[in-house]
């Protein structure tokens, strides 16, 4: 092989007997756009022997290993496992005897390359995987790929480790071959880059695994909490952070809602069946006591966790939006009912309007009281000279405790309003009225869940359609404007 470059790298001694693969005029690496060191580009005439290239690389690695006098890190078993996948491949890479050490001394410009390669001596058998992935029928392709992969991904030790072919031993005389510094540097950098990307991939996979475990754990917690009857219908934030008083109230409230459904169906059937007034009165009274019960529960809840009530975390989002001091606003409820309660006698109308008026006055008084509380709290904890921080906080805590009183008074107002309604109205009217109230809040709750599950894309397309219509409308006048020209 009169390959001048090859000769420099010490491949000149390799005879044709070593070639057991195809010869192409165009180097494989060039054909496939690989990063080919320019040293190998200049071959003309005789076909380039890729086997000798790979051998050179391997031997270079072997030489480095020997130079460094490091113990071989290769364990015989591992590459065999992957290489056995391709029994047709010649086993070219094996540990070579000492005879190859001569190749190192002869080259000068590979010295720096040697150092760069030898500095990277970590991975053991990694190069096998990229190699094994590239299954190709052509020996030459395989071997070129093996050569380039080994140079990129393996360390010198690996290269030598991978070397198992018997030809290696036969090629002891080729140990003088050298690669130039640039090539070696590039190969080393490729190896390093490959190693880094492997490490990144490993870290990412580990992160995914731990997140998956965390997710399944969260799901289990959620399932457990659900089975214990926590009320989660679009409200109560994270299950783990709920206070026991709030949790208890949520459970009681969800049970109350179920009872509410039952009462409402009773009212409905009672109205439709045209029961006698006395029978209907029983149903209406039971509904009123049903409401009395929730107000009783709210007294305890306000004592245990006033913020849970006042922030409306026990309700659904739509209800929460219209929340007033931890519940419905009585004057708003009456406003909602007034139109639907027809026909009313004049006395009843007056009664309803005076009820609305007095509830408005009471609401206003509570709002002003709450405002004063807020002002007082602000004065306590806002800036200014801090004489005693803890004392300030203690005072603030005392003031904050007044919130419970306001929520209780608001609930009291709500309860009194419902009672007064039942006094003003006849039994049938009262039955209809309470049915209306129940249905109203049921729809509000349903609205919350519908809102939560609404399809976002269709909402966006609606926006676009609105936009286009306005654009069209704008086009018209401009066209008329330009028609004069």
């Amino acid at each position: 092989m009169a390959n001048h470059r090859v000769g420099e790298t010490g491949l000149a001694d390799s005879g044709p007997s070593s070639n057991h693969h195809h010869h192409h005029n165009i180097p494989y690496a060039v054909l496939h756009g690989m990063n080919v060191p320019p040293s190998f580009m200049h071959q003309e005439g005789s076909a380039f022997d890729f086997g000798e290239l790979e051998e050179a690389i391997v031997l270079q690695g072997v030489k480095i290993r020997n130079d460094e006098a490091k113990p071989p890190l290769f364990t015989a078993g591992r590459p065999a496992a992957t290489l056995e996948m391709f029994p047709s491949w010649p086993m070219r890479f094996q540990q070579t005897p000492r005879g190859s050490s001569k190749s190192g001394e002869e080259s000068t410009d590979s010295g720096s390359g040697v150092n760069t390669i030898s500095s990277k001596t970590e991975n053991q058998v990694e190069p096998e995987s990229p190699i094994s992935k590239k299954t190709s029928s052509l020996d030459q392709q395989q071997q070129v790929e093996m050569a380039s992969d080994i140079s990129r991904t393996g360390t010198s030790q690996n290269q030598s480790a991978a070397a198992k072919t018997p030809q290696e031993k036969r090629r002891g005389s080729t140990s003088e071959k050298q690669l130039d510094a640039k090539t070696l540097r590039r190969l080393a950098q490729n190896r390093e880059a490959a190693r880094k990307s492997r490490l990144r991939k490993k870290a990412y996979v580990q992160q995914l695994e731990s997140s998956r475990i965390k997710l399944t754990q969260l799901e289990q917690d959620l399932q457990r909490a659900r089975s214990q009857g926590f009320f989660l219908g679009g409200c109560a934030g994270t299950v783990g952070n709920i206070s026991s008083g709030a949790a208890i109230f949520d459970m009681e409230y969800s049970r109350w809602l179920e009872d509410d459904q039952r009462h409402m169906s009773e009212l409905r059937t009672g109205l439709n069946a045209h029961l006698s007034d006395s029978d209907l009165r029983i149903i209406v009274d039971s509904y009123i006591s049903h409401y009395d019960e929730i107000f009783r529960l709210k007294v305890a809840a306000a004592k245990a966790d006033v913020f849970h009530l006042i922030t409306g975390m026990w309700t659904t989002p739509a209800e929460r939006c219209f929340l007033w001091m931890g519940g419905f606003r009585p004057s708003d409820l009456i406003k909602m009912l007034i139109s639907q309660l027809d026909p009313l006698t004049e006395q009843q109308v007056m009664g309803i309007y005076s009820l609305q008026h007095s509830s408005q006055q009471a609401e206003e008084a509570l709002i002003q009281g709450l405002e004063q509380l807020q002002q007082s709290l602000t004065d306590t904890i806002a800036g200014g000279p801090v004489i005693d921080g803890m004392q300030q906080m203690a005072v603030a805590l005392g003031k904050l405790a007044n919130l419970e009183g306001f929520v209780r008074q608001a609930d009291n107002l709500r309860q009194q309003t419902l009672h007064q309604l039942s006094r003003i109205l006849t039994v049938r009217q009262a039955a209809r009225c309470f049915l209306m109230i129940g249905e109203y809040y049921g729809r509000l709750r349903a609205l919350s869940s519908l809102w939560a599950s609404r399809p976002r894309e269709s909402m966006m397309s609606e926006d676009h359609s609105c936009q286009t219509t306005t654009e069209l409308q704008m086009v018209q006048p401009s066209q008329n404007h330009f028609s004069n020209f």
């Binding site: 007095s358 006055q361 008084a365 002003q368 709450l370 007082s376 306001f406």
Partner: protein, 125 residues
């Protein structure tokens, strides 16, 4: 709103003193005016009840017990009267005990408060 001048300034005129019994004083003060509120100046619920009456156009007479030298005794007496550890605010109309905030609210909603006020002369049509 009408604060008892001498009382408000913590200055108790001897001619007005009835006795040392706080309960007697409570009863006496409550029956002197149409609408009497015993309150604490710092309490926000007291502020709410005052705003309620003012909003209705009533001019209540307010005794701030935290500004009275013998306020503590009156407060204790009211505690006994109401059977409640937190008696303030408490409202008397026409000398009659109405109660704390929740009673006042309830009576307003069920329509009994306004007639009482009219009866006591605190409210005119």
């Amino acid at each position: 709103m009408h604060y008892q001048g001498d009382y408000y300034w913590g200055y108790y005129m001897p001619t007005r003193s009835i006795g040392s019994d706080p309960m007697e004083r409570v009863v006496k003060l409550a029956s002197e005016k149409a609408v009497v509120i015993f309150s604490l100046s710092s309490c926000c619920m007291c502020h709410a009840v005052k705003r309620l009456f003012c909003g209705m156009g009533v001019n209540p007479t307010v005794y701030e017990l935290d500004q009275d030298p013998r306020g503590k005794d009156l407060e204790t007496a009211l505690m006994r009267l109401l059977g409640n550890s937190q008696p303030l605010p408490v409202v008397f109309i026409g000398g009659k005990l109405i109660g704390a905030m929740d009673r006042v609210m309830a009576s307003h909603i069920n329509g009994t408060l306004v007639p009482l006020l009219k009866e006591a002369g605190a409210l005119w049509l």
